[in-house]
Symmetry: C2
Subunit: 164 residues, 2 copies
């Protein structure tokens, strides 16, 4: 299934609108015991296909993500959004300073120059969303053809690429 | 770490109060491609250590859960709750009728005698929750000693058994 650049940017724009203003997302990762999730403060930057979170190197999720980078990021707002992706741990001091604000100062009880701070970059591979009314309506699956698993998803209607 | 029957019922009661009235949970499961989540209507029954959801046999999640029963159930309300557990697919027609109500009729567009209906029973193994204020406060991890993975969790403070 080929997508045009315009369909690609429509997909990004759709996800951007869906998650806009939702301050906390649930990040689910894989541990030895099973699947765990935790609330993560979202960035006040526009979604471009990547999601960014701030954490500390001395946390369990840091170790978990190094071992298994598969994650799901769920947003609960007017819609329910599920983003499947892979997490990368990025030690970029400039980007940490760029994202930093007073909320993090309180949340993480540290300052932006703390060497323990690390970024989690989630590369979005598919996004699905549902809107709630009388019915729990599955609206659309947004698919990234870069993931290399096309055969199954290609059967699903309403798939558009997140990246082109 | 040994827990008393009273600590056990306190843990169940804590989770019950946290998730009470939250109509929709995000259920995350493992697929070949990675982690996916979807909103699921919660049951109007009191939490006793198991969470119940209704789905259809002809859905992707049915196949996914048969292949890999590890799940996370996240509740977003006044608190953020993460429940790690394992899913079992239960074909119990009486229980389906017991849970059935008009909301399902609209949501799933079927009737309670549909043979395609199936129950997802999630056996809760650990529950963690966070409350939001100035800080994102990690409140407590509620631990089920039945999971057989005690060594790691035993290091964590404030662990109580979900089941005794």
């Amino acid at each position: 299934m080929m997508e045009t650049a315009s369909e690609h940017s429509d997909a990004i724009e759709t996800v951007r609108k869906l998650i806009q203003g939702i301050d906390i997302a649930m990040l689910t990762s894989v541990t030895e015991q099973g699947l765990v999730s935790r609330p993560m403060k979202t960035q006040e930057v526009e979604f471009d296909g990547d999601l960014w979170f701030l954490t500390m190197k001395d946390t369990e999720k840091y170790e978990e993500l190094l071992e298994n980078p598969n994650v799901n990021v769920a947003y609960v707002g007017k819609s329910y959004v599920s983003i499947r992706g892979t997490a990368e741990l990025v030690d970029n001091r400039e980007k940490i300073k760029e994202f930093w604000n007073n909320a993090y100062e309180k949340l993480l009880e540290t300052t932006s120059d703390d060497p323990n701070l690390i970024l989690i970059k989630v590369k979005a591979e598919t996004a699905e969303y549902w809107e709630m009314g009388n019915r729990m309506k599955f609206v659309k699956q947004l698919y990234n053809k870069l993931s290399g698993h096309k055969s199954k998803e290609a059967d699903t209607n309403q798939i558009v690429d997140l990246q082109s």
